[in-house]
């Protein structure tokens, strides 16, 4: 295997590329270090911690979906079990005064995730595709329901709580204040992201891609796709366990919601919206979805509707996710022709925004009428006040939707046309040089 890997591996990158590569990580580390200096409130620190956790979780999910082509509806099982073990570990370590500091606890969660993935994975990864998706769904339901029955371990629906400050202090940190938790999460996020990136560069990572693209051919080459899927599944379980235990440390509580369908759904949303085709995709998605789910519920009561519609829009119009959209422009940037696209984008954006505004206006007005019928019609959604009772609002909404839709259709068709031309030109230019 090693011989083969050595010959199959890509050529070693040039020194400049290498430096650039390490520089990125150093910059990321610096940014993580300085973030709390910019935003110091407890809420923003909690938000950052949650983003870090969900980045690890989404990346671990992408080992399955993006890299090995396995659609899982039950990834939260490993996240949750990692979280529970971490909480129990904190309680046991604290009670027995063992010399294990808190920063090592995520490792326990990770090993738990790995253990259960290794246990369950062998059977469930025998097939990919729909069968795998269905098994993962069934197992997720089983584990989530059992969590409510097995009270001694899972603590019923109230869950198990712990006090993270009762552990051994390292360098005088007791991990009470959120800022210390933030740094703990940030450090683990950096480690996990680097580790998962490295994983994609190993022969195993390459084989995963091959299994995703063409399992039969992998078999011809002499690998067992089942084994490759199994190994990928184990790694995914390991990192999910780390994410789960970090969440447990952050909240100091673990409960059955960790294992549930909502958690599994959220990570799927995050990975897909970000873009499963690129390593950075789930990171973008995790940030986006976490911020959206935290912030959107303050702005409107029907945030889930927007969330669902947004997801549908991504699936329909940007199957590569946010990163996919951005990466599409790489050839243009290389050729220095991005500016050619900008005018068409601006033209197309205007009616699109009008359409979206119209839809939102219509939704918010309807919501006002159905949810709070008797109340003051001067409502405020997304911080913008408007009068839901006035017929002008309705007319404006209707005009925006109809007009916006018609114009957006035309302008996006044009944009697609321009895009094709520009891309061809850009390719020709790059080839010529």
């Amino acid at each position: 295997m090693r011989d083969l890997a050595a010959t199959a591996a890509p050529p070693l990158p040039a020194l400049a590329d290498k430096l650039k590569f390490y520089a990125i990580w150093v910059v990321v580390a610096l940014v993580l270090l300085l973030l709390p200096k910019l935003f110091a409130t407890g809420g923003s620190l909690t938000t950052f911690s949650l983003i870090g956790i969900s980045i690890i979780f989404a990346l671990s999910y992408n080992i399955l979906l993006g890299q090995t082509g396995m659609l899982s509806f039950g990834h939260a099982v490993y996240y949750g079990l990692g979280g529970f073990l971490a909480i129990h570990a904190i309680n046991i370590i604290g009670a027995n005064k063992w010399p294990i500091p808190l920063p090592l606890v995520p490792l326990i969660g990770g090993v738990t995730g790995l253990f259960f993935a290794a246990l369950i994975g062998w059977v469930s990864t025998q097939r990919s595709g729909t069968a795998f998706a269905m098994i993962s769904l069934g197992l997720a339901e089983l584990v989530a329901s059992s969590a409510l029955i097995l009270r001694t371990f899972f603590g019923g629906e109230a869950g198990v709580s712990a006090n993270r400050t009762k552990l051994l202090k390292v360098f005088g940190f007791n991990f009470g204040p959120q800022i210390q938790i933030y740094y703990l999460v940030a450090a683990w996020t950096l480690i996990a992201v680097i580790a998962m990136y490295a994983l994609t560069r190993t022969p195993l990572g390459r084989m995963c891609n091959a299994v995703r693209d063409n399992p039969e051919r992998v078999q011809f080459v002499g690998y067992d796709p089942h084994v490759v899927r199994y190994l990928a599944f184990c790694f995914a379980g390991f990192f999910a366990g780390i994410a789960g235990s970090l969440a447990a440390i952050n909240f100091e509580i673990a409960n059955s919601a960790y294992l549930g369908a909502v958690q599994s759904g959220t990570v799927l949303f995050a990975a897909y919206i970000g873009g499963i085709g690129f390593f950075i995709g789930p990171i973008v998605g995790a940030i986006f979805v976490t911020v959206l789910s935290l912030g959107l519920s303050d702005l409107t009561t029907v945030w889930q509707l927007y969330f669902g519609l947004f997801f549908i829009a991504v699936v329909m119009f940007a199957p590569g996710g946010i990163t996919g959209l951005l990466m599409m422009h790489r050839p243009l940037i290389k050729a220095g022709m991005l500016t050619r696209m900008l005018p068409s984008y601006l033209i197309a954006l205007l009616p699109t925004l009008a359409l979206i505004t119209g839809l939102m206006l219509a939704i918010e007005t309807t919501v006002h009428y159905t949810v709070n019928p008797g109340e003051d019609p001067h409502v405020k959604a997304f911080g913008i006040p408007f009068n839901a009772a006035s017929s002008i609002t309705w007319l404006v909404a209707a005009a925006l939707i109809v007009g916006g839709f018609a114009l957006a259709r035309i302008s996006w068709r044009r944009t697609a046309h321009v895009w094709d031309e520009t891309l061809t030109a850009a390719r020709a230019k790059v080839h010529a040089t």
Partner: protein, 410 residues
């Protein structure tokens, strides 16, 4: 770089809210406002908003206006903690929550730890509906106050009434399979066994929480057991569907319930045609004549299109909070908490009540109410034409249960 911009975009609004000065008394209302639990959460929010308006019409608390800050916790403990943190950043020093004992446990734990780690910035937690007994027993906290009677107290009151009904001979217990349902079931067994040893428990069922769409198999079991009375802590759809299935199969028993009065409950009873067969243990009903309950109910219904005030305890909570702040002459949470401890209070429907110092549990007169046809002029529920009538009153003293709480005071 992209990432930094995004994070900046998200965090800026937070800074904005944090910078706002504390001109009002902010009460963070942390309950589900989206998702499955939202129907209940919205009713609570309306109640608190109504109460805030009522208080503000009287000049607020210590001259400051009361403002309810709604925070959506999606019935999820983790989410509740995030929302609590957000509320605290926005200058909230008092939070109130009621739906879900799992949320309440997590929240009480969080606030206790927060106050321990951030002295001088304490936050109080007012619980208006989470009834898990541990919150005022093993896991009691100085920062947590509960206005609803916990499930043990309710069972104590309920069994005090049931022991006086000789017709009860065979009892069937059916409850949701989670901590609240379990505590109903164990307490019912223990208390009925002690007070009426001749009553036979012919069945003891636990079913999954909010997952059953057809209760017919359970009803078949109840029927087969020959029970004459069913005791259940079921709420929401689990209650409505249970009654529906019972009515469909023609089961004739009396129902002793905790949450028959909750949203959707009265409609279900009316649909099932169970006139005067459903009993509930409550701290107040619209048709009680005492206190200013009737006036309050009228005003509430006028504002919310005939909706009943299902939370008399929330009224007690808000009014008592105002009284405690006046008494302490301060809105500092520690002082308010000290004023609340052991405070006596005249509740909405009349009668003496007290906030016990030992465990921060509120003790108030309880009522056994019966649901069915009304006399003219009485308040009905959910426009069904039927409503709640008092069958028995259980005095405050009769609801007192011992506590195992060892309160740690700051």
């Amino acid at each position: 770089m992209n990432r930094l911009v995004m994070i900046a975009a998200l965090a800026l609004p937070m800074l904005g809210t944090a910078a706002m000065a504390q001109e009002t008394v902010k009460i963070g209302y942390i309950d589900p406002l989206s998702g499955g639990g939202a129907s209940v959460g919205e009713v609570g929010l309306k109640t608190f908003q109504f109460l805030a308006e009522e208080q503000n019409a009287k000049g607020g608390i210590l001259g400051k206006k009361v403002e309810i800050v709604p925070l959506d916790n999606k019935t999820n403990p983790q989410e509740s903690l995030i929302q609590a943190q957000k509320a605290i950043d926005a200058g909230v020093r008092y939070v109130t929550q009621g739906n879900g004992s799992s949320v309440a446990g997590a929240l009480s734990d969080f606030i206790t730890k927060y106050n321990e780690r951030n002295p001088g910035k304490e936050v109080l937690y007012f619980n208006y509906a989470a009834v898990d007994p541990v919150l005022t027993n093993e896991k009691c906290s100085f920062w947590h106050f509960r206005w609803d009677a916990n499930s043990d107290i309710k069972m104590e009151a309920l069994t005090n009434y049931m022991k006086t009904v000789p017709a009860i001979k065979k009892v069937y217990l059916i409850n949701q399979d989670y901590s609240f349902g379990q505590s109903v079931r164990t307490q019912a067994r223990a208390m009925l066994g002690a007070k009426r040893p001749d009553i036979q428990i012919v069945g003891d069922e636990l079913h999954p929480l909010l997952k059953i769409s057809d209760f017919a198999p359970y009803i078949a079991k109840i029927k087969a057991s020959g029970a004459d009375t069913v005791v259940t802590g079921n709420w929401g759809q689990d209650f409505a569907l249970l009654l529906k299935a019972a009515a469909d199969s023609g089961l004739k028993v009396n129902w002793y319930t905790y949450y028959a009065g909750g949203t959707g409950g009265p409609t279900a009873i009316k649909q099932a045609g169970l006139n005067d067969q459903v009993y509930g243990i409550v701290e107040g009903i619209p048709n009680l004549k005492g206190g200013d309950g009737q006036a309050f109910e009228k005003a509430f219904r006028a504002k919310y299109d005939g909706q009943t005030n299902v939370y008399p305890r929330a009224v007690n909570e808000m009014r008592m909070f105002a009284a405690a702040a006046e008494k302490a002459k301060s809105l500092e949470p520690v002082k308010v908490a000290q004023a609340l401890e052991g405070m006596d209070f005249e509740v909405l429907n009349g009668g003496k009540a007290t906030m016990r110092k030992d465990d921060h549990q509120f003790f108030q007169p309880m009522y056994i109410a019966q649901f069915g046809e009304l006399k003219a002029g009485e308040f009905d529920e959910e426009k069904t034409g039927w409503g709640w009538k008092t069958v028995a009153t259980i005095d405050t003293a009769q609801t007192m249960l011992p506590t195992t709480c060892k309160m740690e005071r700051p």
